[in-house]
Amino acid sequence: MALTKEQIAMRIAREIKNNTYVNLGIGIPTLVANYIPEGFNVVLQSENGILGMGPFPYEGEEDADLINAGKQTVTLLKGASIFDGATSFGMIRAQKVDLTILGAMEVSENGDIANWKIPGKMVKGMGGAMDLVASAKNIIVAMQQVNKHGESKLLPECTLPLTGVKCIKKIVTELGVYEVKDGAFHCLERAPGVSIDDIKKATAGKLIIDDNVPEMKF
């Protein structure tokens, strides 16, 4: 059974270490916040200028001056700080943020990522994605492995305009967990009930998968 979005988020949450700073992108990555282990000190950075982002506010307590990078109303945790956008991206470029989790449309076997533009469609912009992928020391991509036409999005080369080159090291999809190294997708785990064959069919790029690749447990 392919993972749900929530399960992808749950699986990614296991990659988060205690006492770290993490930037979560829009979409599935945002859900990861719900699965950070109890008792972990994980500080969320939002690139519009927050360290220590908290959950959504209680109804009626929204503050128009306090939003996250997805323009959603949020709250601050105790010990949070606010800063300007240059400082925020300075912090990202200087690799002070330990882990970045973001979505993708395509990833290539050498770690290139495309997630901002589809030729012929309205382009909304890259926002902070190009800065994040070019700067972060540790990036996990949360994505669907196949598109609605059943085509793989783990490719030999990206077909869409790139967001960044040779920057993605780990991917979690509905089918498995992959490490990207030495020009190949190395399958580390498969989703419960997903076969090696399912994974092979869903991976267009070079795949390295062991016959005994372990099954994820939830």
Partner: protein, 233 residues
């Protein structure tokens, strides 16, 4: 202290003319100079080049200037959430230059700090790098990006004093401080204007030297783009 106060938004924006390059603070609809945008709509200035992280929504923020076709070119990092924008872009009425958000912020900062150019890894190997100088430092490639050169910066702060000192509130800070530093002429609208001496010198986000005109804005709507809440326990 030098008194930077002007009577109102009309006086603050009096010399903004057709074709001006204007930086506007704000992230989404948060921390945008609502009064000044309304004034620009009223003035009807055209062919503006606007540097702003976003382009507002259809009926608020920079969307109000787009509705009136006053903007010739947008320089932004993310322009979603705006159907009129999309229409003008596809019809060729509007130019748009998309820039990575950190590059946008840092090009503002560069102008404010008197640095003609900066190096950033954002966009290396992508179409953003086309035609740009790439330089390797310590094994990593960086793009050379130039400081912005804007005629005006229009920013919104929470509190300001007559000397032009500004304090922002929460994430309404965003691009405002860098843009305030970067404008050849910087106009600040504030929710509360106080006398010089009432703000703590240690707590000022934008020193008054960067601000040429300041006024107390009115009727702030502070619209929320994505109202997300959790139920009260």
């Amino acid at each position: 202290m030098i008194n930077k106060t002007v009577k109102n938004v009309t006086e603050a924006c009096a010399d903004i003319q057709d074709g001006a390059t204007i930086m506007l603070g704000g992230f989404g609809l948060c921390g945008i100079p609502e009064n000044s945008i309304a004034e620009l709509v009223k003035k009807g200035v055209k062919n503006l080049i606007c540097i702003s992280n976003n382009a507002g929504v259809d009926d608020f923020g920079l969307g109000l200037l787009l509705q009136k076709k006053q903007i010739k070119k947008m320089i932004s990092s993310y322009v979603g959430e705006n159907a009129e924008f999309e229409r003008q872009l596809l019809s060729g009425e509007l130019e748009v230059e998309l820039i990575p958000q950190g590059t946008l912020a840092t090009r503002c900062m560069a102008a404010g700090y008197g640095m003609p150019a900066i190096f950033t890894p954002a966009g290396v190997g992508t179409e953003v790098a086309e035609g740009k100088e790439v330089r390797n430092f310590n094994g990593k490639d960086y793009l050379l990006e130039y400081a912005f050169d804007a005629d005006f910066a229009i920013v919104k702060a929470w509190k300001g004093d007559t000397a032009g000192n500004l304090i922002y509130r929460s994430t309404a800070r965003n691009f405002n401080p860098m843009m305030a530093m970067a404008g050849k002429i910087t106009i600040a609208e504030v929710e509360e204007l106080v006398e010089a001496g009432e703000l703590d010198p240690d707590q000022i986000h934008t020193p008054g030297i960067y601000v040429h005109r300041i006024f107390q804005g009115e009727n702030y709507e502070k619209r929320i783009e994505q109202r997300t809440v959790r139920p009260k326990k």
